[in-house]
């Protein structure tokens, strides 16, 4: 296959004890290919290669080929691997679970069509319920056929109430749901919204209206992990209009390398909070950079 990946890069150091510009340069050519195939933005790839080169070649790297077996030796390959890995992890930051609820708080889910908002809303609801919170799901997608029914079925499967009513004013529905949640002293209200393009002015205005009506404590953007290079512009488009405080990387149970996540994270500075790994409502986890780093490096 075209991508021989990170393993091949590292294999170039077999039998060598020194990292120099030449062997690091060759190894990084493999890594470069691997990153581009993982949908990582070319600009980020270039910065990354520069930083790893600096780490490996710029510094005095002490590598001794095992003379004393009790001495902790770092092989050239290990040092190279660790440098690549650490740089990626640094770029991505660590995940953060939502903090405990104070008062009745609002979590808003937004994103492009089909990225997993409705399913993720249910997953988050289940996760928070298991943490002891009283949760309300709100069916605020007034556009997609059977969207309310989809959330209703999911809510039922996890024992979480779903607020849903007819009408095409999403903001009004959200406002009403929030009033009801406050009256019941619920902990968290999760708003499931319609999928939308960041360039669709009407729908982005609808999103603004929902934000104005509910003043969310947390606004999360769902990003499909198989997205290509445009993921960055999409995320920036949403970040320009919303105060994003978290990304959720979905469908990570696929075999997409997920490189777009790296681009979104570095372009917007928004932390990746969670990843979802399947259609079942249990399949959500707090994001771990190490996992995604090794996946991106292939």
């Amino acid at each position: 296959t075209l991508t021989r990946g990170f393993k091949n890069a590292r294999d170039r150091f077999r039998g060598t004890t020194r990292l120099n510009e030449e062997n690091v340069g060759e190894a990084l050519r493999e890594v470069r290919m691997s990153l581009l195939e993982a949908d990582v933005d070319l600009g980020i790839v270039r910065d990354f290669l520069e930083r790893v080169t600096e780490r490996c070649v710029g510094s005095e790297v002490q590598l001794k080929a095992g003379k004393k077996k009790d001495q902790q030796n770092v092989s050239a390959g290990d040092y190279f691997t660790k440098s690549c890995y650490d740089e990626l992890v640094a770029l991505m930051g660590q995940g953060e679970d939502l903090p405990p609820a104070k008062g009745t708080r609002v979590v808003l889910l937004a994103g492009l069509q089909g990225t997993g908002k409705t399913t993720t809303a249910a997953k988050l609801a289940r996760h928070l319920k298991h943490r002891g919170e009283k949760v309300l799901l709100v069916a605020a997608d007034v556009h997609r056929p059977a969207a309310r029914e989809q959330l209703r079925v999911l809510g039922e499967s996890i024992g979480v109430e779903v607020f849903s009513r007819e009408g095409d004013d999403a903001a009004a529905i959200c406002a009403e749901a929030l009033t009801s949640a406050r009256e019941q002293n619920l902990d968290t209200v999760i708003l499931d919204t319609a999928g939308r393009l960041q360039i669709d002015d009407n729908l982005m205005t609808e999103l603004d209206a929902i934000v104005t009506a509910t003043e969310p404590d947390h606004t999360l953007l769902t990003c499909d992990s198989m997205m290509g290079r445009e993921a960055v512009n999409v995320a920036k488009g949403f970040a320009d209009r919303l105060l994003l405080d978290g990304l959720i990387l979905t469908k990570l149970d696929g075999d997409s390398r997920g490189g777009a996540a790296l681009a979104i994270r570095s372009a917007t500075g928004v932390p990746i909070r969670y990843v979802t790994l399947g259609e079942d409502t249990e399949r959500i986890e707090v994001f771990r950079a190490e996992g995604l780093a090794s996946r991106i490096l292939g």
């Binding site: 290919m33 195939e37 949908d39 492009l112 069509q113 079925v153 290079r229 445009e230 259609e279």
Partner: protein, 272 residues
């Protein structure tokens, strides 16, 4: 590209960035970068890229479909959320506008409200629909739909399936089973297998095309969500490496938002 007469390293690097940003992928980007180099000057580059891209796409263009006797069976497949159900609604509308009788098979028996969603589309476009019960065997629904189509003077059967990732072996096998099941009633079925591919997808699209083709004979791609900002350049890689043509393009969420794939318009937009 800045106006110079020779292609220096920085111009080539600019071109390379444009190719990757359109999701062209390493192999195809290299191919087109070669074409750009051959062009010799920046003025000729644009034309060279478009010409080479068009050449790649023409390599897999399909002849117009032959008429089938009896209902034409179309299977719609793809990963989760790519736009299958919506694309079926749009396709049904086209056929109905052309005077055909259309029947939809709600063979996504898995996802919450999937059957309801297709039911609403059937009402919108005036198509018949065969549903199974939630959790039932998708192959059985497909079978019932084809059987009903045969006895009801239906021209086209569009079979909706659940989204599935190519990493889910058992679900991929299920697709093969659906195809084999409809073959029992109609030996040449499915006459078409459309892979609905989200236009935002990156390099994983090539794997999707490869893996889905292993299970069913994918005859064409519906490239959805091209009304967004992504360019969908992956279809060039798919043309080169998997040999599947794009048949339709989804350009919105409404019933009219489906257009025929037009390679010339596509490559112009690609390098816009």
């Amino acid at each position: 590209f800045s106006r110079r007469n020779t292609l220096d390293a920085s111009t080539l690097s600019e071109i390379e960035e444009i190719l990757f940003a359109a999701d062209l992928g390493v192999k195809t980007a290299d191919d087109l970068l070669e074409a750009a180099k051959q062009a010799g000057s920046t003025d000729a580059v644009h034309a060279a890229l478009e010409a080479r891209a068009l050449e790649i796409l023409s390599g897999v263009s399909t002849p117009p479909e032959a008429d089938v006797s009896g209902p034409k069976i179309v299977l719609i497949v793809g990963v989760n959320g790519s736009g299958k159900t919506t694309s079926i609604g749009k396709l049904a509308a086209r056929h109905i506008a052309a005077g055909k009788n259309v029947l939809l098979a709600a063979a996504d028996t898995f996802r919450a409200a999937a059957i309801d969603q297709l039911g609403i589309w059937a009402e919108r476009v005036n198509a018949e629909i065969v549903k199974g019960s939630p959790g039932g065997d998708p192959a059985a629904v497909a079978f019932d739909a084809v059987k009903a189509a045969q006895s009801r003077d239906v021209d086209v059967v569009l079979i909706d399936t659940a989204g599935r990732l190519q990493t889910q072996g058992n679900l991929m096998d299920e697709l093969g089973k659906i195809a084999r099941t409809v073959k029992k009633l109609v030996p040449d079925a499915p006459h078409e297998v459309l892979l609905v591919l989200d236009g935002n997808t990156g390099q994983n699209a090539i794997r999707q095309a490869q893996e889905f083709s292993r299970q069913v004979d994918v005859t064409g791609i519906v490239l959805s969500k091209l009304d967004g900002t992504a360019k969908g350049g992956v279809v060039l890689g798919i043309a080169q490496e998997v040999g599947i043509p794009v048949r339709f393009v989804g350009v919105g969420e409404g019933v009219e938002d489906l257009i025929d794939f037009e390679p010339g318009a596509f490559v112009r937009a690609l390098f816009d």
